[in-house]
């Protein structure tokens, strides 16, 4: 039962698919943000696994995973600030209620 690259890719695919399901079906904005975090993690697992199995002499994949982590942190900070501003101003949490741009 030796571990291959396909094991890690399958784990990443599973996490990514669960994240897609959450982003498509959750009603609250925070739930969607959490699902997006799951998808970022799946991408990071894939990058680190490709780095380990296909290019073990370098660390470029891990460097990219670090950049993705930083971008994810920035994204979640701005996203939660927007969510809080919407909540304070209109008292709305659920996606289908936030429709002021509807014509």
């Amino acid at each position: 039962m030796t571990l291959t690259l396909a094991h890690y890719l399958a784990l990443g695919a599973g996490l990514f698919v669960i994240g897609i399901f959450g982003a498509l079906t959750r009603r609250s904005v925070i739930g969607i943000l959490m699902s997006i975090e799951l998808m970022f993690n799946a991408a990071n697992i894939n990058l680190a696994a490709f780095n380990r199995f296909l290019h073990p002499e370098g660390v470029t994949g891990q460097a990219f995973a670090l950049f993705i982590m930083t971008v994810a942190a920035a994204e979640v900070v701005v996203g939660l600030a927007l969510v809080l501003a919407i909540y304070r101003r209109w008292d709305k949490v659920y996606m289908e209620k936030i429709d002021i741009l509807r014509g």
Binding site: A13, R27, T60, L66
Partner: protein, 166 residues
């Protein structure tokens, strides 16, 4: 052998708690399980030998993002939410999308079924530091600019407007 056991354990924890994150009704429980899932992903990084990623995953994701999520949930919490449906009507279509995506991803992944690791993992922190301040110094500086912009944006969006308009 130990690596394989650790991988299967961490993968099971990550997948099960990820499913709970997207299906549970209580958003506080969702945020807590998100923290557990992210910690299990840190363990997966550990089995890959990515020591710096392991540490920064725990510092940034478990210590930062999951806690931030819990804060936001508590700031926006309403007791009525505990009994409401948290999943919309489109779950069947979403399952279809997920099945198609999973099939496509698996077609790609199964090409690597025979790719085993050639050598034992080496510590990566020193090489990462050299890469970040060598070849990747411009993206490294740009990412700090992105963080500064995110900080300013968060302050701008959450501050109260003057004159009591908000």
């Amino acid at each position: 052998m130990i690596t394989a056991i650790a991988f299967y354990l961490m993968a099971a924890v990550a997948l099960v708690s990820a499913v709970l994150v997207v299906t549970l009704r209580n958003t506080v429980h969702c945020a807590l399980f998100l923290g557990l899932s992210l910690a299990a992903v840190a363990g997966v990084f550990g089995t890959l030998g990515a020591d710096f990623l392991f540490a920064s995953q725990i510092l940034i994701y478990v210590g930062g993002i999951a806690v931030l999520m819990i804060f936001a949930v508590m700031l926006m919490g309403r007791t009525a939410d505990l009994t409401l449906r948290q999943v919309n009507q489109e779950w069947l279509a979403a399952l279809l999308v997920c099945a198609i995506t999973a099939a496509g991803l698996w077609r790609t992944a199964k090409a690597y079924l025979g790719t085993a690791a050639a050598s034992a993992p080496a510590p990566a922190t020193k090489a990462l530091g050299r890469l970040m301040l060598g070849d990747y110094v411009i993206p490294f500086e740009l990412i700090s600019l992105v963080l500064l912009a995110a900080l300013l944006g968060a302050v701008f969006f959450t501050k109260k407007e003057e004159g009591g308009k908000t």
